[in-house]
């Protein structure tokens, strides 16, 4: 790719980018969120059209009008958000792109199915061709994506943050697999996890604000050097080093069972205690009941049995208002859906939970001056980057939206905080900031339940680590006891049998 530029309204997403990949090479494309990695790859796949620049394959210039042209040229991309139709089978999903099977009056699914079986056994990617996508775990879906791309004849793979939703074991498997496949394929690997970049790639290209700031051989640089070039400054993620000062029992969950949206038991007699002044990390592969637990505590999901005591008050099956009123702070999983009202101004989002409090309203009329003043203070303190506080919150970047939520929850002076995947998808700079804020709150003596699937985050911040698997707590480990290996094993559900 040479001199690629792409403009979106208001932003220059790709600024004169050039890069090249040789046959059998793995190139890591790293950069913070919003650096333009995905945009660049979408241009390569013909999904977006570049405004300037040229693309060459084997020294021949190509013009892709759509993804189909890119497939025909042997390119294939696994997107960060999986591009699989959930209510179709694996075979049907492959058939969507497998034009040879499109007979005039019949779709030859048998042909597609045998192709899927052939590819999956050749590369050692186990998939069940007849399973529906919605039945599969995230790791399985990823394998389906790989099989799909390979079935369509890709010789050049683009993987957009392939490990962001995988367990450590699955990540290791993927890395081993890619190393093996490298003999036959070229790969562009997008990531901001630097240990993976080190483990896998031959060369590395760093993007910042849509432009290439560095490219070179991976072996010549250490992860921290790459991290510094990625963000433009040195990043040291804060760690929880101080001795825990355990206060009174804040949240006591006893034997609760909760059903998921699909009706099965998402939480199965789960018990967990969290004290004031400590951070309890809840580790686990997403989909093992984390979401349901957070919702159950916050009154958003009904509880079938068991009790939740919050500073001695029973909050099981109470309304969200009741729970908030008793001092609960909540950073929800879906920041754009549950955390903010995207079309509301930032300053309105700040007072969502306090619109009827005396400080922001009188006789049910909003006090706009007080609301603006509050917003300016929070914007300043939390370094929220926005044109002004009347901007719609939904137009901000993920990191800034998360800061808006954090600012609201923390400044409400809660007695307890639940943070669900607080840094998911954020870049290093934003992660650093959020970690610092959480540790600050802990120091003030507030109990925090931190739900995350980032093991580094959990191990850095938590005083105690509870591992959740299939709706119940596998084991609770102390700060020093946990390491990537034993957590990974517990998260995968192994070990329970041994103990029993």
């Amino acid at each position: 790719m040479e001199h690629i530029s792409k403009r979106f309204p208001g932003v220059l997403a790709s600024d004169d980018i050039s890069l090249s990949v040789g046959e059998g090479q793995i190139l890591a494309l790293v950069g913070e969120n919003g650096a333009g990695k995905t945009t660049l790859m979408n241009i390569l796949m013909g999904i977006y059209q570049q405004d300037e620049g040229k693309i060459f394959i084997n020294d021949k210039e190509v013009h892709f009008r759509g993804p189909e042209d890119a497939f025909n040229a042997g390119l294939g991309m696994v997107h960060q958000q999986y591009m699989l139709v959930p209510n179709m089978t694996v075979t049907e999903n492959v058939a969507l792109g497998y034009k040879q099977a499109w007979k005039p009056l019949k779709l030859d699914l048998d042909m597609v199915r045998s192709r899927v079986v052939e590819i999956s056994s050749y590369y050692g990617l186990a998939v069940n061709p007849d399973a529906y996508i919605w039945q599969l775990s995230v790791g399985e879906q990823q394998r389906v994506e790989l099989v799909k791309t390979l079935c369509l004849g890709a010789k050049f793979l683009i993987l957009d943050e392939p490990t962001s939703a995988l367990t450590p074991q699955e990540t290791d498997e993927l890395i081993a697999l890619l190393k093996k496949m490298k003999n036959e394929l070229s790969v562009i690997f997008i990531s901001h996890k630097l240990n993976e970049v080190k483990a896998l790639s031959d060369t590395v290209v760093i993007l910042r604000h849509g432009a290439v700031v560095f490219s070179g051989n991976t072996d010549d640089y250490s992860p921290s050097q790459i991290a510094a070039m990625m963000t433009g400054h040195e990043i040291v993620l804060p760690e929880n080093r101080e001795e825990a000062v355990r206060g009174e029992l804040a949240l006591s969950i006893k034997d609760i069972s909760v059903r998921s949206d699909r009706g099965f038991l998402a939480l199965d007699h789960l018990s967990l205690d969290v004290y004031q002044g400590e951070i309890v990390g809840l580790a686990g592969v997403s989909g093992n009941g984390q979401r349901e637990l957070a919702e159950a505590i916050n009154g958003l999901r009904s509880i079938e049995s068991g009790s939740i005591e919050f500073f001695g008050t029973d909050i099981a099956n109470k309304s969200p208002y009741y729970v908030i009123d008793h001092g609960m702070g909540y950073i929800p999983e879906e920041r754009n859906i549950e955390g903010i009202v995207p079309s509301f101004a930032i300053r309105e989002n700040f007072i969502l939970k306090d619109s009827d409090k005396k400080s922001f309203s009188r006789y049910r009329f909003l006090k706009n001056k007080a609301i603006s003043r509050n917003a300016e203070v929070l914007r300043e303190n939390f370094d929220i980057r926005c044109p002004d506080t009347a901007t719609a919150a939904g137009s901000l970047s993920g990191g800034n939206i998360q800061k808006v939520i954090l600012a609201r929850e923390i400044t409400r002076a809660p007695r307890f905080l639940i943070a669900v995947y607080p840094t998911r998808g954020l870049d290093m700079g934003a992660i650093e900031f959020i970690h610092q804020e959480l540790l600050k709150k802990r120091k003030e003596g507030i109990g925090i339940l931190l739900i995350s699937e980032e093991l580094d985050e959990i191990m850095n911040l938590s005083d105690r680590i509870a591992v959740i698997y299939k709706g119940s707590i596998q084991k609770v480990l102390k700060h020093g006891e946990a390491n990537r290996k034993n957590l990974g094993i517990l998260m995968a559900g192994v070990g329970r049998e041994e103990e029993e």
């Binding site: 979106f8 796949m45 999904i47 977006y48 759509g66 993804p67 189909e68 497939f71 991309m77 997107h79 999986y82 591009m83 699989l84 139709v85 959930p86 209510n87 179709m88 049907e92 999903n93 058939a95 969507l96 792109g97 099977a101 499109w102 007979k103 009056l105 019949k106 779709l107 529906y132 919605w134 949206d261 699909r262």
Partner: protein
């Protein structure tokens, strides 16, 4: 006994207009577009369908071929209106609910106006003849209920498995389901999302037009402003009722039309209950059933009602 046979033998032909329209609407919705304008397209179809035999025979008897031509032109009109709707909601990404209401008023209004201009007052036509199936129609009870109707009735029911085959066994059906559930995924696989939606809307429109013409040419055998009487909206509801599956939609159409024929027959019995109650009955049945059908996330077209724009991230 007689009254039961009578009710059942009416249920079948009365369900056909609903069946065709809702199968068409099913294709629309499977592709991610819901067309509330179904009612309007049916009205236009009903007018065009009856206009052909009326103009040829001046209200008198005509050859069966003219009836078929009427049905064909009605389907063609419906397809064109479906494409027109596609321009509005797919290309220009107008909100589908509002555009659908507009389509409904446009269709019903235009059909009524053209009818007054070309035909004048309410006129009945001889319409499509019944074609009992040889041998089978002589079976007592069953023959009367199932095998003594006009040809369109049989064809409509044969179309149910055909629609199932199209949707689940052809590449076109696969594309339609993909763009209705995860258009971005379909796009990355090189499928033209908008084009597929145009095609589905054309097919849906054609079936709605045909359904309207069935009413005016085969069932009621006349046209009036309120001929469709909300059937287009019922058809939309039946798609939800049938979970976007042709066979379940057929069962829904039969259930609704069963409730409706009960109403006609009970009115005739002179039971001392206000007849409005029975007129209300079929609609109440649909509302109750809709309220209690499960919201099964795994089959519904998740992108229903959402316009697709490749360059805007969601």
């Amino acid at each position: 006994m007689d009254i039961i046979v009578n009710i059942l033998s009416m249920t079948i032909p009365f369900s056909v207009a609903l069946l065709l329209a809702s199968i068409g609407e099913m294709f629309n919705q499977r592709s991610g577009v819901f067309n509330l304008g179904c009612e309007g397209i049916m009205a236009m179809g009903a007018f065009v369908g009856m206009l052909v035999p009326f103009m040829v025979g001046h209200g008198g008897a005509v050859g069966q071929g003219w009836n078929w031509l009427g049905l064909l032109l009605a389907a063609l009109t419906g397809a064109l209106l479906g494409l027109f709707f596609a321009v509005i909601v797919v290309t220009f990404r107008a909100p589908q609910g509002i555009a659908g209401i507009g389509m409904q008023m446009f269709g019903v209004g235009t059909a009524g106006t053209l009818f007054r201009h070309f035909v004048g007052g309410t006129q009945s036509i001889p319409g499509m003849q019944n074609t009992p199936v040889p041998l089978l129609c002589d079976i007592p009870v069953i023959g009367t209920i199932f095998f003594s109707h006009n040809l369109v009735v049989y064809l409509a029911f044969i179309f149910v498995p055909v629609a199932w085959y199209i949707l689940f066994k052809t590449s076109w059906g696969l594309r339609v389901r993909a763009v209705g559930t995860h258009p971005r995924a379909a796009d990355t696989m090189g499928i033209n999302v908008n084009r597929t939606r145009y095609e589905a809307l054309a097919l849906g429109g054609a079936l709605a037009g045909l359904a309207g013409a069935y009413l005016s040419v085969c069932q009621v055998k006349m046209f009036s402003d309120d001929l469709i009487a909300g059937r287009g909206f019922i058809a939309v509801a039946l798609v939800y009722f049938g979970h976007w599956h042709p066979v379940k939609i057929m069962l829904g159409a039969l259930l609704f039309s069963f409730a409706q024929t009960i109403q006609y027959n009970v009115q005739g019995l002179g039971i001392n209950i206000p007849y409005e109650f029975f007129v209300m009955l079929p609609y109440v049945v649909v509302i109750i059933v809709l309220a209690f059908t499960s919201r099964n996330q795994t089959t519904s077209p998740a992108a229903l009602g959402k316009p697709f724009n490749r360059e805007i991230r969601t």
